[in-house]
């Protein structure tokens, strides 16, 4: 075990998986010579050469479309999108081909590619470096979506994604790239997709969160200590969703607050609420509450602290729910 920052764990996973499987290659903008704008791919070009850690032309749809062809030629490309909001052009290929091509060939061809990107706000960046686009990815059939919140999971989920025979999108919480620090197993480390993690045990209310909202939920739980016992469920994989873990927690607490940084309408919290409405209605003591970003363009950074879900907003939601 070593202590690593979250972004270092991403880098570690790439080194380990590229060492393990010579078909794995990393492609992206500035991933080679520069080692990535967040240094997530640092050292890969030196270690594995410019044909396996490739600086690509600046074109996100062409990059992912090229990855489709690379898969057909036998590669397992890991595609870096430089920022959340710069990934939108790649949705064209993701929706029209990545999520459909296997089905189109009756399962004859597989597309074991990974799209990974830093996502989310709170980093005092210019416009369009702050988005939480997970819904677009989750809503696309034929792809899986994972979001780590700890260094260990950042490594393990990325390794699982690289080894997965299906396309996987990984969103990495850039806000905590270099603040989340924790134990990361050395060498091969895989965290299976589709399994949530109970980040904290509790009995009164379940705070459902993922990515950079897990630490927000933890701070809210700390603030509520002595007042309410909060269980924190870190979803880790949004698709496929670990419904069993969600239902088990709700059976215990009967109350749910979902925390999500993305805009509210049709965000992932709505899916969680729908699952609970369908499958856990008799376990619930009150409404499923959402603490989310707003249905507005992500603001300039002098206003962004008002946009981002805060521990205080989560505490407020928990109190409203407890007094329901």
């Amino acid at each position: 075990m070593a202590e690593r920052f979250l972004v270092e764990a991403v880098n570690d996973a790439l080194h380990v998986e590229m060492e393990r499987d010579a078909d794995v290659m990393v492609i992206g903008e500035d991933v080679g010579r520069a080692g990535g704008v967040f240094r997530a791919t640092a050292g890969l070009r030196e270690r594995f050469g410019p044909d396996r850690c490739v600086d690509m032309p600046l074109a996100e749809a062409g990059l992912l479309g090229g990855a489709v062809g690379l898969c057909m030629a036998g590669w397992r490309p890991v595609c870096e999108m430089q920022y959340d909001a710069f990934s939108y052009p790649c949705l064209d290929q993701l929706i029209t081909h990545v999520g459909r091509y296997r089905w189109r060939t009756k399962g004859a061809l597989s597309f074991p590619l990974v799209v990974r990107m830093p996502y989310g706000g709170g980093v005092r960046a210019p416009e369009l470096h702050d988005d939480s686009p997970e819904t677009y990815y989750v809503h696309t059939p034929g792809v899986k979506v994972a979001i780590p919140s700890t260094p260990g999971d950042a490594k393990g989920l990325l390794a699982a994604a690289i080894r997965d025979p299906d396309p996987v999108v990984i969103l990495e919480p850039k806000l905590i790239y270099r603040t989340a620090r924790g134990e990361v197993p050395e060498g091969e480390h895989v965290v299976p997709l589709g399994r949530a993690r109970v980040a904290r045990e509790g009995t009164d209310v379940t705070l459902v969160a993922y990515g950079a909202m897990v630490p927000v939920a933890e701070r809210a739980a700390d603030a509520l200590e002595g007042e309410a016992s909060c269980e924190i469920l870190d979803l880790r994989t949004l698709k496929p969703l670990d419904e069993d873990a969600l239902l088990a927690s709700v059976r215990k607490t009967g109350r749910v607050v979902v925390v999500q940084e993305a805009p509210r309408t049709l965000g992932f919290a709505a899916e969680v609420a729908a699952v609970l409405a369908e499958r856990a209605i008799l376990d619930l003591h009150g409404p499923v509450l959402r603490v989310t970003g707003f249905d507005v363009p992500y603001p300039y950074w002098q206003l962004e602290d008002w946009y981002m879900p805060s521990p205080a907003r989560v505490v407020d939601a928990v109190r409203r729910l407890l007094s329901f």
Partner: protein, 352 residues
């Protein structure tokens, strides 16, 4: 052709009233094989329009008059080379052994229309315009990185050159010196939009210069001119010299698709001229002048193609209804548990 954009002259091999026939060095058997492919594609297209009118296939994208581009290209490739068709080349896989029933099933909306691209070196039919260009670029590049002696060819139309995906794919292939042949069927219409509303370039081939790759501009109704250009481009790509762009100029003398009525926008004079100069007849004239083809032989080739199509539509219509499990199967290698639940629910409720 009249009113073509100014640019390089069109390369031609097949002669006319004023010019003599050329020769690209194909043996007689190769010329006759090329002819059989042209006739098979033509027959597929003409029968498909009939089948559509009879309600036996769904909406169908016509390629009448573009057979020379398709057959010329396929015959110029090696068997291990891959091609990436758009819907305009839906039946090009016939020339690589995909059964007519399979392609007809695709147009019937039946999953029996699926094929494994690796079995034939033919990617799935690409419906969204130009999005297959990056696939072909990535495939060519990825094959090159693996040290495989394999070229990719991608078909697309004039309208596709306006798409970002064309640009991104062409640029990627050029930067990586990927062994890719970019083959543009410039039939001068994107549904109802003429080339002049598509580009301000004097000729589409001029775009090649912007990618730092060579271009060629050929008569797309001259199967030998297409063959020759593709063969040169493929040889160049195979030698490690990177991609090339070929503009094959034709005129769309048929509707975009069975749902389209082009009489409201095309020039009937140009359509008439294009139909007079259509590619199968031109090549048959060439073969006659070389003493390789007479009426009886031409009829036997057409009969053979018609037989293949009759067998194909019979086989396609004999496919049992697709099992509803195919809604879920194959979407993912590792399906979520919801698929089994959804399937069980559908089976329980039934289709009533």
């Amino acid at each position: 052709m009249t009113e073509l954009a100014a640019g390089q002259p069109l390369s031609r091999v097949i002669g006319d009233e004023t010019t003599a026939d050329g020769d690209i060095g194909l043996a007689d058997e190769e010329l006759l094989a090329l002819h059989r492919s042209l006739v098979l594609l033509r027959t597929y297209d003409e029968r498909s329009i009939v089948y559509h009118r009879q309600g036996r296939i769904g909406t169908y994208a016509v390629y009448w008059g573009h057979e020379a581009i398709q057959a010329g290209a396929v015959h110029a490739l090696d068997p291990e080379d891959w091609m990436f068709p758009s819907y305009r080349e839906s039946a090009v896989g016939l020339l690589r052994g995909i059964p007519p029933a399979t392609v007809l099933s695709w147009w019937r909306g039946h999953p029996a229309g699926w094929w494994n691209p690796a079995d034939y070196g033919v990617a799935s039919i690409c419906v969204p315009i130009a999005t297959q260009v990056p696939h072909a670029a990535g495939f060519a590049w990825g094959s090159m990185l693996r040290g495989e002696d394999r070229v990719a060819l991608v078909f697309f139309g004039d309208g596709a050159t306006s798409e970002g995906a064309f640009h991104e794919g062409a640029n990627l292939a050029a930067v990586k010196r990927a062994p890719l042949v970019l083959l543009c069927n410039n039939n001068q219409w994107a549904i109802s939009t003429p080339l002049a509303d598509q580009t301000a370039a004097a000729a589409l081939v001029d775009k090649a210069a912007g990618y730092g790759i060579p271009g060629a501009r050929v008569d797309g109704t001259d199967v030998l001119a297409v063959h020759d250009a593709v063969r040169r481009a493929a040889a160049r790509a195979r030698a490690g010299d990177g991609p090339a762009f070929i503009e094959a100029v034709t005129y769309r003398a048929a509707p975009h698709a069975t749902a389209d009525d082009p009489s409201v926008y095309v020039d009937p004079v140009q359509v008439e001229e294009a139909r007079r100069n259509e590619c199968v007849g031109r090549f048959e004239g060439y073969l006659r002048r070389r003493g390789l083809l007479d009426d009886e032989y031409a009829q036997s080739v057409r009969d053979e193609a018609l037989r293949a199509m009759r067998e194909g539509i019979t086989a396609a219509e004999a496919e049992p209804p697709a099992d509803l499990a195919l809604l879920f199967e194959h979407a993912l290698v590792d399906p979520p548990s919801s698929y089994a639940d959804d399937l069980a629910e559908l089976r329980r409720i039934g289709d009533g």
